[in-house]
């Protein structure tokens, strides 16, 4: 700006300093992420050494982490309350099934090219399918806000699994689709013969053949860990971008955002599409892992649990959301089960049959509910709130003081 009095550090310097700061922050976070990921990656060895046998529990938990990260884009970043997110999970999971299972009508009719009938290409296609379904489901909700949006998305969350239940000619209804492709085995050596000269080449690779069978839970564990890291990378990049800023703006004030040149339709559809796309990842990995999908796996409660994960961790803070997803997942799948044992033991000791035979897993929704109420009362921003969210939730009085201080500074400084 021409009229700007040239103060000591130029605007370019200040901008560059900001970028340097962001880079430092990013690197610090990356370091932490890598440390945590490395520790997680070692876990399968610990698991088998100590005979814990929890890999089969952790893998679905990680699927839910990816789902929670995706929902966080829609709810946390763009502020669009979606309580039917399970719809996208269904679409992602069935996407993989349709493309790779010999039970699928699409494969039977020969509509799926041979090269696509494998895990990796099918996962990529599922990702795109889920993103497109995000646009299709998102489009009719664009004019709605808050409660109304929530109700419509709730409807979609019911319609989509019902559709998959009832469209028997395509989905085989409640029987589901089995024999879904798992990732091809990654060979432990490169072995081929050059034709004509008939040379046999064999290059051993520094690992054993990596196969993804149900007995090889470890490889699944590492695979999904990689998918999680990849998702995290994409989501953090999106958050720190022009689009991420626009999401935050429409979350704060739609009318102002539109008046400042943000195309509401496009920005919201991107949120729906990208948010849904990660459920395509999650769905494809999940269906490849369990190798069978049927509509009963995708109930309304899944939408609620994923939303709880996002809210517990801290809307808008992707690291918080990962933590929230792990906490709820751990409670849901491990703690509730483990908790039953001491309770049952106490029950036996005091001779109270009801307690001795009680299974805490059946109470988990009750405990969820109570925990969520307490959380909203005590920490409405979640356990690890995003900076802006924390500011939103902060008591107003602090701001008044800030403004008063500012005014005082103005009075003494200028005049």
């Amino acid at each position: 700006m021409a009229a700007t009095a040239s103060t000591a550090p130029s605007v370019a310097d200040r901008a560059d300093r900001w970028f340097a700061q962001r880079k430092a922050d990013d690197q610090r976070r990356l370091k932490w992420v890598l440390v945590v990921a490395a520790i997680t990656a070692i876990y399968p060895f610990i698991d088998s050494a100590l005979g814990i046998g929890r890999l089969g529990t952790l893998i679905p938990m990680f699927v839910f982490v990816i789902l929670a990260m995706g929902l966080n884009i829609v709810v946390g970043y763009a502020g669009l309350l979606d309580i039917g997110y399970v719809a996208f999970f269904v679409i992602g999971a069935y996407g993989n099934a349709f493309l790779t299972s010999p039970n699928s009508v699409f494969v039977q009719k020969g509509w799926v090219p041979e090269w696509l009938q494998a895990f990796w290409p099918a996962m990529a296609v599922s990702w795109i399918l889920a993103a497109i379904s995000g646009v299709i489901i998102g489009a009719p909700t664009l004019r709605l806000r808050g409660d109304y949006l929530a109700i419509v998305t709730l409807g979609f969350g019911e319609i989509v699994p019902d559709f998959y239940t009832n469209a028997e000619s395509i989905t085989r209804g409640p029987r589901g689709i089995g024999q879904i492709a798992k990732p091809a085995t990654i060979p432990g050596e490169i072995d081929f013969t050059i034709p004509l000269v008939d040379w046999h080449v064999n290059i051993p690779l520094p690992w054993d053949a990596i196969s993804f069978t149900t007995v090889d839970q470890r490889n699944w564990f590492w695979l999904i860990l990689l998918v999680m890291l990849f998702s995290l990378f994409m989501i953090t990049r999106l958050h720190d971008s022009r689009l991420g800023r626009a999401w935050q703006a429409i979350r704060e004030d739609e009318v102002a955002a539109a008046s400042m040149g943000v195309n509401l339709v496009r920005t919201k559809l991107w949120a729906f599409a990208l948010g849904a796309s990660f459920s395509g990842f999650a769905g494809a990995v999940y269906s490849g892992y369990v190798r069978v999908v049927y509509p009963d796996q995708f109930q309304f409660s899944i939408s609620v649990i994923i939303l709880c994960m996002v809210i517990l961790g801290g809307l808008g803070n992707v690291y918080g959301v990962i933590a929230g997803a792990m906490i709820i997942g751990a409670f849901d799948r491990i703690l509730a089960e483990e908790l039953s044992k001491p309770l049952n033991w106490i029950g036996e000791q005091i001779g109270w049959d009801a307690l001795a035979n009680h299974n805490v897993t059946s109470d988990r929704f009750l405990i969820f509910g109570v925990a969520l109420v307490l959380l909203m009362l005590l920490r409405p921003g979640g356990l690890f709130p995003q900076r802006a969210r924390a500011a939103e939730m902060a008591p107003e009085s602090e701001d008044i003081t800030a403004q008063e201080q500012e005014d005082l500074a103005d009075v003494s400084g200028r005049v």
Partner: protein, 307 residues
Amino acid sequence: MVTQTAQPTAASQTAGSGTPILETRSITQRFGGLVAVDSVSITIPRGSISSVIGPNGAGKTTLFNIIAGIYRPTEGEVIFDGEVIMRSGGGSRKWKRPDQVMELGIARTFQNIRLFANMSALDNVLIGMHSRMKATPLGAILRTPSVRQEEREARIRGLGLLDYVGLGRHSEAIAKNLSYGDQRRLEIARALASDPKLLLLDEPTAGMNPQETAGMTRFFDQIRRDLDLTVLLIEHDMKVVMGISDHITVLDHGQKIAEGTPEQVRTNEKVIEAYLGKDAEATAEQLVRRQEENTAERAAATGAANP
């Protein structure tokens, strides 16, 4: 009609300096039975500081919201920079969304400040630049050199704008923690970020004391000169605009009752009635007469609207 505006500036010579920057042709806005804006035609000369004034409830903000694309007018046309951007009521209808209006070069502020309260001052300004930036989601994920470059340039420009409005040292402050006057300034910086041709300011001095108001009005004049744009102000306080406006339009009960130079408006009888009737000299008689007239005008207006 008055066109003795400020000296033509560099930009106004490039694109047909004769054509007004903005024109509304018999804009009418009805909300159910209420006629908020009644067939209002205004012309904003290029490079001027123009004002729309009127008592509370005169339809000023409604007119603004029509120009900014928030309401679709019931009838009438809006012509910006020689191009019809909105047309309603018979014939080919045309309408622009607020973000499209912004992209064309009309930026605005709000009567009750509408900043992105929990974003930093600089991020607020960067949203103002949103429509001028090109980064795609894929580019953002890959963080390509062109995206980095664009982001850096945007930040530099944003910091420059914050310096310009005097908020340079608050660039990372959360908007809602800024003082009231600074929030007003930030709103202007955010609007300027899109590099507009026309700046719409909706009661920018509301809630300010006379000193602050004077400082703010000087600032508008500076913006107009430095940035080579046209400023359209909304005010209900006539004193604010008299000193700086080249051209004033007066609305009352949704109708244009006068327009011209400050001098012409000041001496216009209808304006005095609509406005100064409220002053200390105003007798009860005057007030009664004014009310009667207004009722008659409204009756005539509804009669004209529904023949």
